[in-house]
Amino acid sequence: MQTTFPRLLLEHAAARPAAPALREKEFGIWQTLSWSALRGLVESLACGLAQAGLQRGQHLVVIGENRPRLYASMLAAQSLGAIPVPLYQDAAAGEFVFPIVNADVPFAVVEDQEQVDKLLEVRGRCPTLTRIWFDDPRGLRNYREPGLAPLDELVEAGRAFASSNPDFFRGEVAKAQPGDVAAMFFTSGTTGNAKGVVHSHETLIDRAAAGARFDKLSCDDEVLAYLPPAWIGQNIFSYAQWLVCGYVVNCPESASTVMLDLKEIGPTYYFAPPRVFEGLLTSVMIRMEDAAPIKRWLFDRCMAHARRVGSARMDGKPLSWLDRLGWALGNLLIYSPLRNSLGFSRVRVAYTAGEAIGPDLFIFYRSLGINLKQLYGSTETAVFVCLQPDHEARSDTVGVPIEGVEIRVTESGEILVRSPGLLKEYYRDAAATAEVLTPEGWYKTGDAGFLDPAGHLKIIDRAKDVGRIVGGENDGALFAPRYVENKLKFFPYVKEAVAFGDGRDRVCAFVNIDMEAVGNWAEKRNLAYSSYADLSQKPPVLELIRDCVEKVNADLAGDDKLAGSQISRFLVLHKELDADDGELTRTRKVRRGFISDRYASLLEALYAGESHRYVETEVKFEDGRTGRVAADLKIVDAKTFPVTRRAA
């Protein structure tokens, strides 16, 4: 699509001047900004910025929550051929310095006092930053800072200028070319400085359009913008696709009212990372706790039925009339009211992305009748690489490559992407750019994965963690420890799992049982136990875990790529892996290396084929004392399966 964002704006303003473009809940009602009004605002802002001296190719920092006038400022900058740089509003002042200096940014448009204070704090270190405009004057009345002014002033100045030279704005917009840089997003780099990902109008618009076509988005859709606009995800959904489709973007009233506003608006197109969905689910469960027993019983019954038939229904599979009846009943009593009180009644398409989402969580929402799907993409790819088509959403894949996307998997298992939506470069960082962009125009995602027979992309791990089996019957097979571990951890009984196999002839694993889940399980079978260590070695428990492992194996056997990662032997650890003992990171990620050293003897026993091994380990207790726990750990063999190639 050969166009630019400002041109899209003009088209909408011309085609549907009165239609709503943006809504913001302010002063108790949804204040609506029509496309023509928006165009006017953008024009004024653009003229104002131009007068203030914003040059083509210069950068404009935008910091704040989702606010109509901040979006308008981005559009204004783009219409002048300048480049908006949205930054995270919750970042510490210090984190602003690098982007501003790196792109020697002259101007900033920010939301309120909080952001102004932060900028003023670091102003000394940002010599280039000369002007700051703020949207909300609250508390800023008595600030006397050179170059600090309310956005209203800019708008006023701009309006005056525009009325004297009415053609200026159009002219500027006309100059901008699709290939020009449209925006820059700073990826919060875990190490070193953030990298500025440079995107052109082309790249963003092409991907946005592709995504929109994929889900048949139209100008009738409603979106609630509540995630940081500096994050490309939010930006694509509430900016790029907004301008491409011309649907309505709604801005919540305040952070404390997002849930209410979500309920009022009832978006038709929704996007959130898994943690948001997880949070919602927990809140649902907590609120149901205090419900009357009858109601809870009803809820449980309905949800059980939903789990049974819900996802099948979403996948468009035929249901028996009895199941259909049950679902209709549940829908009347629970699902639909639940969707309503979550604000999902009108959701037509909902996406989650970012991390792996647990199957239960995923199924919960789908079985409620919410069309929740996964997508795969990153800042560098302008988000849309793979999307799950309706009726084909699965929790362990991220969908099919959509139009314009080519995917290649290197022999090391890393996924390469080629699409019209790839970043232009990392801003002023040729080295980094060269690292990720091959001369042939492939982008190295750094993720390991493959396309399954059904053509769905499956992400298994970070590329650097993926290993190879050496020797044994499946020599050279792919080994993705985290993938295997996650699969195990999706079972409630398994708290932690550590898989080994890189450079070995087969995969073995340590398993941590979940004290609570297994404890309950044991009590139901009145199986007496004295301690964690004791419980962990009870034969029935080992059977239980073996069961889980073999299920995982069966599952793995499902796709040839990972069949080699099946767990042939495992043992259940006698103590919980613990951050205090250095076995986990503070964020509860297993430290594989440390563990393999600490439990070297066990590892050796696993691979040496012994049936049990006595072990004694030092542990730190809550109160800081250290003690030793000893146990004779049984080692269990798990059945592995031959590859059962699933028909594509």
């Binding site: 009602i29 709604n250 608006i265 205090d290 009211p337 009108r346």
Partner: protein, 354 residues
């Protein structure tokens, strides 16, 4: 459970301030009106109109008026019967003394007279509060009881002391069959309910409630107790007066002062308490409850054919009423209306408890 509020967002204050902001509620009320205005007239038996529906409508109207005074403005009145009487007798006098006085005009003028008396007896409320006022309003009750009994002029010197009206008609349409009477009352009730609702959700209503909830604070923000209280008395007694007129003209046809005795005043007060203080809807609940309950109590014995003599039945009714008042005051001081709205909230939050 029945509510689907996603997407019902408001883009203007007008929309946000409407009486029923939720679509489902608007549908429900529309259906209710259709049933009341179309279905019932065709289906209900005559007994139902005379014994239940018409009294219910008129008493709801009176309760509505009283509720404005007691429930919204917090000025208790034990003299409602008096204002009904004034309305009825005034309307009567207008009809008999002025040739061709249209029914509706007569009723409204009756209301106006009631307003005058209401304001007159409301004046003490500026100096005296709560309990003292309650007693003061009894003065109105006894005075009017006496006046309409002893001052012959009011009853147009009828010998029996009872007055009667007949041949009612509006714009040439006769009002004599139960259905016609029912529809006539229904029209009045709907219109007045709407007007009343508008008042209580406007700034006058807020002034009333402010006086009720915390009169000193109200004064400090510039509300004049005089104005607030007297308007409450005026509006209240106007509606009550009109109800009185309807009661006399449409329901009874011929009546004596006893029709508006102190028992009527208490009955209305009970309607307001049980139905829900400070709730328009409550007035209807209360009226329905108090109109229907005695009828049920009277009939219970026959349904279970346990013979009870009528005297005993009426005593039992008394006891049950008394007990219910106390019960509601203790358990749900805001009456049935509050129960209703809690129920509604539960539906909106379903399946969650809160």
């Amino acid at each position: 459970m029945l509510y689907r509020e996603n997407g019902q967002f408001k883009t203007s204050y007008r929309a946000d301030q409407q009486i029923f902001p939720i679509v489902q509620d608007r549908i429900a009320i529309a259906l209710l009106l259709v049933v009341a205005a179309v279905v019932i007239p065709w289906t209900a038996p005559e007994y139902l109109f005379r014994a239940i529906l018409i009294p219910f409508l008129i008493l709801s109207l009176a309760a509505l008026g009283l509720n404005i005074l007691v429930g919204y403005c917090g000025q208790i009145s034990l003299g409602t019967g008096a204002f009904m009487a004034v309305g009825a007798y005034a309307a009567y006098n207008f009809t008999v003394r002025i040739q061709g006085m249209p029914l509706i005009v007569a009723l409204l003028l009756g209301g106006v007279c009631a307003t005058a008396i209401g304001v007159l007896f409301g004046i003490p409320s500026l100096r005296i509060k709560g309990l003292y006022l309650a007693v003061a309003t009894l003065a109105a009750q006894f005075f009017t009881d006496w006046a309409f009994l002893r001052i012959k002029w009011f009853t147009n010197d009828s010998l029996s002391g009872s007055v009667n009206v007949g041949g009612l008609q509006v714009f040439g349409w006769p009002i004599d069959t139960p259905v016609q009477k029912y529809l006539f009352c229904l029209a009045f009730v709907v219109v007045f309910a709407l007007l009343a609702k508008n008042l209580v959700r406007g700034h006058l209503g807020r002034e009333w409630m402010a006086i009720r909830d915390m009169d000193v604070a109200a004064e400090v923000i510039g509300i004049r107790p005089v104005y607030a209280k007297l308007t409450a008395f005026a509006v209240s007694s106007f509606i009550v007066g009109v109800a009185g007129g309807l009661w006399g003209f449409v329901h009874l046809g011929s009546w004596e002062p006893a029709a508006f005795s102190i028992d009527r005043s208490f009955q209305l007060l009970f309607m307001v308490i049980i139905g829900g203080l400070g709730s328009i809807m409550g007035s209807f609940f209360g009226a329905a409850f108090i109109v229907v309950l005695p009828i049920i109590l009277d009939n219970l014995p026959y349904w279970f054919d346990v013979p009870i003599d009528t005297a005993l039945a009426s005593h039992l009714t008394f006891m049950i009423f008394g007990a219910l008042i106390v019960f509601f005051l203790i358990v749900e001081p805001h009456g049935i209306a509050r129960l209703w709205s809690t129920g509604k909230e539960k539906l909106r939050l379903w399946p969650f408890p809160h």
